[in-house]
Amino acid sequence: MMAVTALKPKAAVAAPAKTADVVRLATPIARPARVAGKVLRFVGENVAPPMIVLMILLVIWQVAASGDASGLPSPSDVWAQSSELILDPFFVYGTQDIGLGWRVLTSLERVAYGFGLAAIVGVLTGAAIGQSIWLMRGLDPIFQVLRTVPPLAWLPISLAAFMDSAPSAIFVIFITAIWPIIINTAAGVRAIPQDYRNVAAVLRLNQIEFFFKIMVPAAAPYIFSGLRIGVGLSWLAIVAAEMLTGGVGIGFFIWDAWNSSRLTDIIVALVYIGVTGFILDRLVGWLGGIIARGTTA
């Protein structure tokens, strides 16, 4: 890595100063070799080790689940009984018989509502709490207690409150995701340097200008780490939420598969949920990295 990054600017600087053919000779040879080397190294460092470990784990699982007394399916059982779910995520055979890709998308839509709402309410609430020492003292202990309540525990209450399964499911996702967003935003706002507040005071920025021009950019790294935890939690809540709503979500699929004893389908669905959660986490992390780039300088 070091050698590669060191070469690049040197070549760029040298180009105008030296004769042109030196550069022209060097680039076509160096570039493909460099790219190939990079790809190889990336595969060697990041792809190969988890693949090898995965293989080993699958073998152990196969051996452990092969006995007659075993209640759990082995990897080969999963393949034999549920290969269609693995191979084609987007089939449609009927309103209830669709591929897991569609189910994940339905669940993602639900998470988008719940998490989007949690993000807006959480950032605004967190900003208010970070600004006011009295709000902080009053609300922080309550939030610290509420954030430990598991998603399933909110189900009966939200059902009682909304009397309908669809908004209740979104509420469960919302209430699960909101706490880390509030708590992190408040911490970020409290950490805004006094200097920035003085600048805002001298310029007489009003509350809205202060929020958008100082508070959000200054607290962006904190806000995004809160959002990242929040998106993970809201995806965790999806199974609980969809036990209520039924329909076609991935969470409901697991509940349904359990009721009809299709254990292998559940295992495939777990992998889908895990991979989707991983992608969501990276997506928010990547977005935060881009937006917060300026603030850390």
Binding site: N198, L203, A297
Partner: protein
């Protein structure tokens, strides 16, 4: 009527039941176009005094008046150049100045006029070349220049400088002092500058306000500096007026009001 009048100002900070008096009976008047530097040992309340004028802190008793109007809240008519530049790191140099200009002149000037005004102020501190850079990409001296440009761009009635060059190396500091003298000569603006550097105080100021040690610090002495402008640091180095002023400040700071460190 004087331009800025600080009249019998006391300032105490309450911590729990105990109140610590920081400033005691400060009386000072500053005329339009004057450059006053305030010098004193650290912890004597220089910065507190500046924050009072800026409106960032409130007086306990007494009154501060700018052009006859009482100062009790911060505002762009008293722009501050902060010690650690306080530029917003997520905005470019241009946008940092633009934030101030849009806020102060957003209603009265067109976009083109504002752009010209931003570039004019960046040019005043010789920073037009870095307009599109972020504060993290330029040196400490350059950041402080941009801080000055941002403050000047608000067209303040009085410019408040809080140890603006304290964190810079001696050579960079000299460059910036020249820049400030140059700006003062051109714009004839009113300035209050906090410093702990004797040479800086003598070089830049029309009057040097010397403060006694805290707690309950007050103005010990005011020394007029009468040397003609423009002042040149090399020519001044051997001039009797300069040396006398310098000696007077040194005597005040190190003989009569030597800082007695608390026994630790």
């Amino acid at each position: 009527m004087s331009y800025l009048k600080i009249d019998r100002v006391f300032k105490a900070f309450a911590s729990g039941a105990r109140a610590t008096e920081v400033l005691s009976d400060i009386r000072l008047t500053i005329e339009k176009g004057e450059c006053v530097s305030i010098i004193g040992h650290s912890g004597c309340g220089k910065s507190t005094l500046l924050n009072l004028v800026a409106g960032l802190t409130q007086v306990s008793t007494g009154v501060i008046k700018l052009e006859g109007r009482e100062v009790n809240a911060p505002g762009p008519d008293r722009a501050v150049v902060f010690q650690n530049h306080s530029l917003l790191p997520w905005l470019t140099v241009y946008d940092n100045v633009n934030l101030a200009v849009t806020k102060v002149f957003g209603a009265t000037r067109t976009k083109a006029e504002r752009h010209a005004w931003i570039m004019e102020n960046l040019d005043l501190v010789q920073m037009t070349h870095a307009a599109d850079k972020r504060p993290g990409e330029i040196s400490g001296g350059m950041r402080q220049r941009v801080g000055i440009a941002r403050a000047l761009a608000m067209e303040p009635k009085i410019l408040l400088l809080d140890e603006p060059f304290g964190a810079l190396d001696a050579l960079t500091r000299a460059h910036l002092q020249d820049a400030v003298m140059d700006i003062h000569a051109r714009l004839k603006n009113t300035m209050i500058m906090i410093t702990h550097d004797v040479d800086e105080a003598v070089l830049l100021a029309d009057r040097i306000v010397m403060m006694t040690n805290g707690p309950a610090a007050t103005i010990g002495e005011v020394l007029p500096v009468t040397m003609a402008r423009p002042r040149d640091r090399i020519a001044l180095a051997a001039q009797p007026d300069y040396l006398r002023a310098r000696e007077a400040v040194l005597r005040f700071l190190h003989e009569r009001h030597r800082l007695v460190e608390a026994a630790e």
